[in-house]
Amino acid sequence: MKIVAVTSCPTGIAHTYMAAEALEEAARQGGHTISVETQGAAGASPIAADEIAAADVVIFAADVEVRDRDRFAGKPTVTGGVKRAINDAPGMLDEAERLLAAAPAATATATATAAGPIAVVPPPGRAPSSGGSRLRQWLMTGVSYMIPFVAAGGILIAVAFLIGGPEIANKVNGGTFRGVTYEAVDDISNLFEETGLAGVLFKMGATAFSMLVPILAGYIAFAMADRPGLVPGVVAGLLASAIGAGFLGGLAGGLLAGAVVLAIRRVDVPKAFAGVMPVVVIPLVSTLIVGFLMIVAIGQPIAALTDAMTDWLDSLSGSNAVVLGALVGLMMAFDMGGPVNKVAYTFGLAGLAAGNQEVMAAVMAAGMTPPLALALATVVRSHLFTPAERQAGQSAWLLGASFITEGAIPFAAADPLRVIPSLMAGSAVTGALVMAFDVTSPAPHGGVLVMGLMGRPLLWLAAIVAGMAVSAACVVAAKSLRRGDPVATPPSTTTGIRGPAAVAG
């Protein structure tokens, strides 16, 4: 059988490697193929995604939590401590074989793949791996750490809207809601007094949301360069937020940070210097380089781009309403909270201030479509998504319905080239339909909660459903075309939508 294994222990200098050696030795004697990822102090070289995809069974010999466990989801798994692997590695392999025999779907792939010559795969990291799957693995790591922030923050904000009304956002942050102007609460210690529980919940949710991009960027860099990548990655993410570059900026910043750390590591340094490299030099130098690039090389063009887009959109104000609706739809779905999305949303706000309520209705609907479409896609074709994404899909219903477009970011960040165009297509349909139906919204946010205030709310809902269907169909089609992707399509999923669950049994 083909085995992938992870070993890890508290200090990561002894038992991690002993367990790895014992497993490799037992696999060699048993005539199995094994690839072990040692998550120890020497730095982990992740097992290539295609190797995980080809594996029949997973062994975790770990006393501390396995990093990025998601990668191994859907495979029969034997779990134990490092000592069990050291003392009785053959026993763990026997258990793996029994598991495999009990999982019929996986056995089919086992016989198909075990026919090749039997050899001990060298320790991880050396195995060839296509650039695309490595990239996807890095992005998935960032996304998997970000998802809980999206879910927790999004649900807190949605609940705040539910109990405090959509104007709670303005009560906390200031601004105008339906003609009433609120002042921002400057002193957070007065928040509960002035805005009540809803305001406090909103603030908590917004704070969690402010970490989305830093966490995404930080853990992308972490996946690439291990611990030294975290500092420049998080800083790149914070700067991406500060310059308004959104999650796409954070994604680029995280990749950049990881690449810079990997490059610095290649530089030969004098021995005396080597000790301070991971703690001082690498974080310092990489943060300097990445921070400078983010602020100067990316920040300024984004500001200029934002201005140019705003002017351009303004110049289109009087033109064909349906085209304008499609356009703001495309923009809302492009970067979900990033600069392009902000331009479209601000355009809607400006319209509202000038007494035009149609554009706001289109903007809001087009911003709700992405999370809702993805929630729908995870239900109708769950096997195309990782377990983490499926969980994100559950909370995306609530986030989408509350016009919290960020609910779609985990999906878009993990697979931008397939997901973003799909979302743009659906949101364009929604935006165009809302304008064609002459729907009006006097409220700048709130989603389905403000339907009661709208003109022609049912047509508005119909436009959203239409866009959802288009985006979900596009996402499913785009993801189905992908071949041999290990994370999303375990070999056994052809047996049915719920395939992975059956394998895990």
Partner: protein, 150 residues
């Protein structure tokens, strides 16, 4: 890089009442050789690791170890006990005791050496050679050959 192990870090007739005394004795050798700057701090780190889960494994081996800021270079201390010292393994006391000391800020190269050492410990042939060694230099030679490949 400094040698992983030297003859003055080896005690082939280790006598100690329990695993803490054994560890303290080997740590004393490391301190004497300048590999450990603060003996108490290092022992506290080793104890903290030992408290998480005993480091003994089947086959008569104890591997007290720690990453500690009191350590100057990755170092192995080795003790052999004829009567055995309990390190919490299921199958009885440890006859081979390896004290692994890693610097807190050790880079990947340091850790790779220690990882290789740990991997060798799993092999029965390596353990038997250590049990049969008659003088410290033989232990040093064996470890240099098996771990460092020279």
């Amino acid at each position: 890089m400094t040698a992983l192990i030297t003859t003055d870090l080896i005690d082939l007739d280790l006598e100690a009442g329990d695993r803490h005394a054994a560890t303290a004795h080997l740590a004393g050798l490391l301190a004497g050789a300048g590999r450990v700057t603060d003996l108490d701090a290092f022992l506290a780190d080793v104890r903290a690791r030992e408290a998480q889960m005993p480091t003994g494994i089947e086959g008569g081996i104890g591997i007290p170890h720690a990453r500690s800021s009191a350590v100057t270079a990755p170092t192995l201390g080795f003790g052999r006990s004829t009567e055995g010292i309990d390190f919490g393994a299921d199958d009885g006391p440890a006859h081979l005791i390896f004290l692994i000391a890693a610097p807190a800020d050790g880079d990947a190269d340091h850790m790779t050496i220690l990882a290789k050492l740990a991997r060798r410990l799993v092999h029965a042939s390596f353990r038997e050679s250590l049990l049969g060694a008659t003088e410290p230099q033989a232990v040093v030679d064996l470890i240099d050959k098996e771990v460092l490949g020279r």
